[in-house]
Symmetry: C2
Subunit: 259 residues, 2 copies
């Protein structure tokens, strides 16, 4: 069994003026499920703790829970319990438990020099959506899709390490490289249509999977989800990143202001 816990806070992870309640419910659970996916785990059960403010009336809470439960049902994860309290701002803590064959859980620490680096889907969509507030990118920001099926497939492919892109590709890949004691040299990355390179590198909330394999993949699509080889793992200062031969700052949050 593997476990993950993730906070989802008003004005930190969502704004009630911008985010429909159903999307907030969806995203609360998607964050937990994405962590399970990155470990190659299958969902077993989840717990939800909610701190509820005065502004959240019954219809809002109903819609929030409907969004949560729709994704839970589709993902086959029962909501087994939780806690309720009052607070001025809405806060949720999602705990997700998954099952994975003993000793097989994917970690950040298993990448080895020479491994190939892959990413699912396209990057920067959620950041673009947050900027524009409309269209497919906004929908992607509101309702990210945890890559559970791909996560399980990574076990069969013999992936050496994986992480989900929640804080931006550069930052999360940096964490993976630090944990593995390796470096990463990127060639190019697949961008969401309309997203800038900065959004693709440093935008959060995409919830795609980055993973490393000892050999290149034959297929470039898994269940309609594109998979792109974006570079190789190398030796050197642990955590160091490069893109097209140039050093890449993992803490790209500032860059993000000037795409």
């Amino acid at each position: 069994l593997v476990f993950t816990t993730d906070l989802f806070l008003e004005d930190r992870h969502f704004r009630r003026t911008d985010h429909p309640a159903g999307a907030a419910g969806h995203k609360t659970l998607a964050r937990g499920l994405s962590d399970l996916a990155a470990m190659g785990a299958s969902p077993r059960f989840c717990l939800l703790s909610l701190a509820i403010p005065g502004w959240a009336d019954d219809p809002w809470i109903d819609e929030y829970l409907n969004g949560f439960l729709a994704l839970a049902t589709r993902s086959g994860i029962p909501l087994a319990g939780g806690d309720l309290a009052r607070q001025e701002r809405f806060a949720a803590d999602i705990v997700a438990c998954g099952g994975v064959p003993r000793g097989m859980a994917l970690r950040r620490s298993g990448a080895r020099v020479g491994d190939w680096i892959f990413v699912s889907g396209q990057l920067g969509g959620a950041a673009l959506g947050l900027e524009t507030g409309s269209g497919a990118a906004w929908e992607r920001h509101l309702r990210p899709e945890p890559r559970l099926s791909l996560g399980r497939q990574l076990l069969a492919w013999g992936a050496t390490a994986a992480i989900d892109v929640s804080d931006g590709l550069a930052r999360d890949l940096h964490r993976l490289c630090l944990a593995s004691g390796v470096t990463a040299a990127l060639d190019s990355i697949p961008l969401f249509p309309g997203a800038s390179l900065a959004q693709g590198l440093h935008g959060g909330d995409d919830y795609e999977l980055v993973f490393t394999l000892p050999a290149p993949l034959g297929a470039s699509v898994f269940e309609d989800l594109p998979l792109t080889c974006i570079g190789r793992i190398g030796a050197g200062e642990p955590g160091a990143l490069s893109l097209a031969g140039q050093a890449l700052d993992p803490a790209g949050y500032d860059h993000f202001q000037t795409p």
Copy 2:
């Protein structure tokens, strides 16, 4: 395996002006461990999610974690992970996992007509401490002791149901009776020295265990902890309570204002 999750929120469950950081850390974990005790479970691991405000400087957080970890070490429960975020008010969500022999976990729903009702320790101390802010009662409010050892012993004694007293004896016993479809007739309850009957019946945060047994106990002490028979389970409107023959309102929070 059994799981519990419990929020611990600034200005709801503690005030930073009154509560030392170490006590807040202790209490965060004690709430989770008390739930494990009420299920007869042995601690396995815990997860801690923290939302940290600007006022919480490094010394405060260190002291908070020291209080948390001191109880964790003493209780043999490793802190296996968690999450961190920023928020204006401090918030913690504790997830505790415990182990119990399959099918043996104590529940609220197992009490049967004729069972004897017991409570550990003395009631109302935490409420008295909150009122006076001093002495042994205040210490009890700050650092409740989860009854893990007693919880495990309840399995051996064949307890039929149990719950921890977190929201007041009347309210929590009402929940147990509702879940079991029974009533409870109380004779008298053991009060913390100086506590009023209202504080003993309706004061929260005592974290003693209330449990039901099919036969009276021989001993009235377990590992220096007094155990008191406070009444019997009966038939009737599920959840109904009485004290010394008088109906007892389980939602006694208002009464609490006029002890």
